[in-house]
């Protein structure tokens, strides 16, 4: 609850449910390109590979992974664009 209160507000949702790897990652990359530093993007992915691929990409690209939450049939991965 506390984490939700302090987490930055999501500015954009990328609903990539039903899309297979690397679809969710590619959708996130597009959203990152179109966003400004400081904006927060939530990716919804039903592909289990995203739990691995997306955080790896975020680390390499130097952005900030805020949280990964298991929802009903999909993962919500929240990312802050840092630069």
């Amino acid at each position: 609850m506390l984490a939700n209160l302090t987490a930055p507000a999501v500015t954009r949702i990328v609903d990539a449910r039903g899309s297979f790897c690397p679809g969710p990652l590619m959708e996130l990359i597009r959203a990152i390109r179109e966003s400004a530093p400081g904006q927060v993007i939530a990716v919804y992915s039903s592909d289990s590979g995203s739990r691995i691929d997306v955080p790896k990409w975020i680390e390499k690209a130097g952005h900030r992974l805020l949280e990964i939450t298991r929802r009903d049939g999909y993962d919500e991965i929240v990312v802050e664009k840092t630069h």
Partner: protein, 385 residues
């Protein structure tokens, strides 16, 4: 009369037209059904051959034939460019003003390359997605005397997913044959966390990259080209200098599909049902091949296996019966050859539920690809395989 209108004279459009004629011969003869293909150029191009132009083993003139000669004579062919689709009147309007009405619409409109979306692409990067570009790349390779070759992908999705890896393998083999390998570095840049989208293919290709001394850069999404310093930069902050840069250009769907409300911007890929191939829930509009948003290879093979599904669904509707699920549901089947250089290749065969298990590369699969390329004109578009 039922009017079936097919937009696009590539693999998907041509094969669908020819399969429909086979199934609706009687109705067409009786004037109850009319099948029309609209194609922008009237020329059918075998695009998988472009890569071989770049490798010095193919000529552009052998990769193109008149569409008229590939279509059954009972199929009408209109050569023209589509301006938009008016859904309210079920009419396609061509840029010359000609309206063509439809009862069933098949969107086999392919993909288009948009290299202009990356600054300096035209002057700095080679590619092999048109015959002219492939010839340019051949000249670039002929002039190459050593240095860094960087091969990358400047946007996903793109046509023929194995092609950039194949080109890397083939160029590596060529450099060895020309005695340039010791003076050269080869770098392969993948936008994702491995060499290829499908894990099993990546597992097959990665050791080959290592064995051939081709350096793999993962999570390299091409962002900019520094034309002055000859450096390609990734979104992830990596920089690679090059003497010769080969990039798969960004791809998009057709703009008129966006303008007509059939496909969302900016990609322009048609929202397509993975089993029925219906577009956006419309029961009389189908898509196949590169034009769809399906998570599958954008390749002629995909269209080849989708065409019978579109055909069965249209034929069933015209005959007033339910769709035969054995033929009217697409299971995601794709099959393609994969070159690894030195006269060897392998085969990728998969569907939605079964990832490919590529056999160990050998000469047989390489020869299979060559034979397929040579016999294409007599087999695929005419529905003989």
């Amino acid at each position: 009369m039922k009017r079936i209108l097919i937009l696009g004279g590539g693999v998907g459009g041509t094969l669908t037209a020819n399969l429909l004629i086979k199934r609706l011969r009687r109705q067409v003869k009786a004037g109850e059904v009319m099948i029309t293909v609209v194609d922008q150029t009237g020329q059918h191009t075998y695009q998988p051959g472009f890569m071989y132009i770049a490798m010095g083993a193919e000529r552009a003139e052998r990769l193109q034939r008149p569409e008229r000669g590939l279509l059954d004579k009972r199929v009408h062919l209109v050569i023209g460019e589509v301006a938009r689709i008016d859904e309210s009147t079920q009419t396609v309007l061509l840029t010359d003003g000609l309206p063509i009405a439809y009862d069933y619409l098949v969107l086999a409109t392919g993909s288009r390359i948009v290299p202009e979306e990356i600054e300096h692409f035209a002057t700095e990067a080679y590619h092999f997605y048109t015959a002219d570009a492939a010839q340019e790349l051949r000249r670039g390779l002929d002039a190459f005397t050593g240095g860094r070759i960087v091969i990358g992908i400047a946007g996903m999705p793109y046509k023929c997913p194995p092609a950039p890896l194949e080109v890397a393998f083939l160029i590596e083999a060529e450099l060895r044959q020309r005695g340039l390998r010791e003076k050269s570095e080869l770098h392969f840049c993948s936008p994702i966390g491995r060499a290829f989208t499908i894990e099993s293919v990546s597992a097959m290709a990665t050791p080959i990259l290592e064995q051939k001394g081709i350096e793999l850069h993962t999570f390299f999404n091409v962002e900019t080209i520094d034309a002055e310093r000859h450096i390609v930069q990734s979104l992830e902050g990596e920089e690679l200098p090059y003497e010769l840069l080969i990039l798969v250009p960004p791809h998009k769907g057709q703009q008129f599909l966006v303008d007509s409300g059939f496909a969302p911007a900016p990609g322009g890929w048609l929202p397509t049902d993975r089993a029925t191939l219906e577009v956006g829930g419309r029961p009389n509009v189908f898509a196949l091949g590169d034009a769809t948003d399906l998570p599958l290879s954008k390749a002629g093979s995909t269209a080849h296996f989708e065409a019978p599904v579109v055909t069965e669904r249209i034929v069933a509707s015209i005959q007033g019966r339910t769709v035969d699920p054995r033929h009217g549901e697409y299971l995601g089947k794709v099959m393609c050859f994969f070159e690894v250089g030195d006269g060897k290749g392998t085969l990728l065969q998969f569907d939605y539920e079964h990832p490919p298990r590529p056999p160990k590369p050998n000469q047989l699969w390489h020869l299979g690809k060559i034979v397929f390329n040579k016999t294409y004109w007599h087999t695929v578009p005419k529905g003989r395989v």
